[in-house]
């Protein structure tokens, strides 16, 4: 119903318009308040982590607690970093993350494309199987997979953490990418196919540019996955020199009966989060806006 038509029914045009505008403003104001209150609550734990990381150990337990660390103990970060060989763990984590992500993105995109665009006998059954592997707890395959790597003599190497990435390891990524492929009209590809382009040409020149935002979104997920992987390093890596950051943190946390060094743990938690924050701020535009721009709508 247009404004004028509604106004004609309700009475004078300006009055109805004013009422509508006031209602809209009120809704907006309430939304703002709710969203702001929620944001404040969400930020407190985050703030507390950084604040605690800059206090002296004795001040961490002070009552009443001080919100701000005065003066900020910047050296906590250096002390914590040096307490355990975190530099080495960072290098190991980067190695695993880069290799894993590259293989994962490549294989998942190709597999998703196959499932989205080619009809072949058994496709639906196979895709159903792929989906059901999403429900599979990682722990069910854990022990036999561990035995495979043990038989290959590759325990205590990074292999179990990265090699399987070539086999489109993440069913969730395949699912997500397939959804994006399905959202793209077939016209373009069919045109390319009529022009005589083969599978890889069609894929590389027609499809890839269109799903770039989706690939970027999956890349962010995969980055998180490899950076935060804890179970894999926990069971496969024995040498302390091969630990990743998460496993290093587990070591750094200390035993059950040790009193945790909370200021150091908060400092390292902040450091561990930094690459995530930076990636997010860099990729945010593509990640949030880009996803909505896929397809021929732009």
């Amino acid at each position: 119903m247009s404004g004028q038509a509604q106004a004609a029914i309700l009475g004078s045009p300006s009055r109805a318009r004013r009422r509508r505008r006031t209602a809209k403003l009120a809704v907006r104001l309430v939304s703002y308040l709710v969203v702001t209150a929620g944001a404040a609550v969400l930020l407190v734990p985050f703030f507390w982590m950084v604040s605690s990381s800059l206090k002296e150990l004795k001040d961490v337990f002070a009552y009443p607690p001080a919100w701000l660390p005065i003066p900020p103990q910047w050296h906590n970060y250096l002390d914590a970093w040096r307490a355990v060989p975190f530099g080495r763990y960072l290098a190991n984590t980067i190695f695993v993350t880069v290799l894993g992500m590259f293989a994962e993105l490549t294989s998942c995109t190709l597999v998703a494309y196959g499932f989205a665009r080619y009809s072949f006998p058994g496709r639906n059954a196979l895709f159903f199987i792929l989906l059901s592997t999403m429900m599979l707890p990682y722990h069910v395959t854990l022990i036999p997979t561990y035995m495979i790597w043990r038989n290959l003599g590759l325990l205590n190497t990074f292999d179990p953490l990265v090699l399987p990435a070539w086999t489109a390891w993440g069913p969730f990524y395949v699912f997500l990418l397939r959804q994006f492929f399905l959202g793209i009209p077939r016209d373009l590809e069919e045109a390319a196919r009529i022009d005589g382009a083969n599978v890889l040409q069609t894929f590389g020149h027609v499809m890839l540019p269109q799903i770039k935002p989706a690939i970027l979104a999956v890349a962010v997920f995969a980055f998180r996955g490899y950076w935060n992987n804890f179970l894999g390093p926990l069971i496969y890596l024995n040498d302390m020199g091969k630990y990743t950051l998460t496993l290093g943190m587990y070591l750094f946390m200390g035993g059950v009966n040790e009193a945790p060094q909370w200021h150091w743990l908060m400092a390292m938690s902040t450091v561990l989060a930094l690459p995530m924050l930076v990636t997010f701020f860099l990729a945010q535009r593509y990640f949030i806006e880009g996803i909505s721009l896929t397809g021929l709508k732009g």
């Binding site: 597999v111 072949f120 086999t167 804890f230 943190m249 995530m276 997010f280 945010q284």
Partner: protein, 331 residues
């Protein structure tokens, strides 16, 4: 120790990529040789990496772990067949197993609906285009950006019984309720709320961003059409927004259930005492890799698998009633 710890893995990484590529070409060639249609050959070639990985790293291990769950196995001596012994142990073990099933299920039933509905509401609020909304989106996403390890340690510190922020700030309230200073990760009464609070703070953003993207992806034309039909905001949500984003909602609910039931890393770092409770995956790790009882561990993992399977199938069954795929209708 220098670059040498990486060289071997790097070499085998490249080798694996070559092998997978060759396998794809091989499948394509073989199918062509068998006079398969181009469409079939290309399709199978494209999904070959997954198919190979599925056989080696999923199908094989599933069967093997099912087999192992009927044995007693310590990694060093050959597995010994014990029949249903491990499962009988599970059903009678009221000390570890049943409390962990209860805790894991309760955690999923509380955290998933709260997480999905909450993040959908926030996404709707944040989907309006007004000045400064980008900052809000960033703020809401921030907790989800943090690694699980940071999240777990951060909350363990906030939930600290003596000096934790929560107990300090809520001291008057807790005293009024006669709770004293709750020992969040050491008391069976508080461990569940603690994990639910933690999960909602951490998962909010991820869901919210996906919902936000889905909402923004809804064609504007549909809203305009609804407006012409005289639809209010609520009607617009139920007749336009929700059907359009329903596949995403389904995905989020299912991923939420699967993720919540498999909680592990956060629990390992938050470290609830054994008196307070343990999640199922923690039991699998402890039995298997700390006590080397691989048979018992496999049985626990299978119990978890069956629970996940049942719940997910239930949600999938319901999905035909409320999920709408545009592309499939058009076909």
């Amino acid at each position: 120790m220098d670059g040498s710890i990486y060289a071997g893995t790097l070499a085998r990484y490249l080798l694996t990529s070559g092998m997978v590529a060759l396998l794809c070409l091989g499948v394509y060639g073989l199918l062509k040789l068998l006079h398969a249609r181009e469409e079939t050959a290309a399709g199978y070639a494209l999904i070959t990496p997954w198919l190979a990985g599925f056989l080696v790293f999923t199908a094989g291990p599933i069967l093997a772990s099912l087999g192992l769950s009927f044995t007693s196995y310590d990694l060093f001596t050959a597995p010994k067949w014990v029949g249903l012994e491990n499962y009988r142990w599970l059903f009678t073990d009221i000390l570890d197993f049943w409390p962990s099933v209860k805790l894991t299920l309760a955690y999923a039933f509380l955290s998933v609906p709260l997480g999905v509905v909450g993040s959908l509401l926030v996404a709707l609020l944040l989907s309006i285009d007004v000045r400064g909304i980008g900052t809000y989106r960033t703020v809401y996403y921030l907790p989800a950006v943090l690694p699980e390890v940071s999240v777990a340690l951060l909350w363990r510190w906030i939930f600290n019984s003596e000096a934790g922020l929560l107990n300090v700030v809520c001291r008057p309230l807790f005293r009024l309720l006669g709770l004293g200073k709750p020992d969040w990760f050491g008391d069976p009464r508080f461990v569940l709320p603690a994990f639910v609070i933690m999960s909602i703070w951490g998962i909010f953003g991820i869901n919210m961003v996906v919902f936000l993207a889905a909402i923004k992806n809804v064609p504007k034309v549909l809203y305009e059409a609804a407006e012409i039909d005289g639809a209010g905001p609520l009607a617009k949500f139920w007749s336009v927004t929700f059907p359009q984003i329903s596949p995403v909602v389904l995905l989020q609910v299912i991923m939420g259930i699967i993720g919540a039931l498999q909680i592990f890393t956060v629990a390992m770092f938050a470290r609830p005492t054994s008196a307070a409770g343990r999640f199922m995956n923690q039991l699998v790790y402890e039995r298997g890799f700390l006590q080397l009882k691989m048979g018992e561990a496999s049985a626990i993992a299978w119990a978890l698998f069956i629970i996940i399977l049942g719940l997910t199938l239930l949600v999938f069954r319901s999905s035909s009633a409320w999920v709408y795929y545009e592309a499939e209708v058009r076909k």
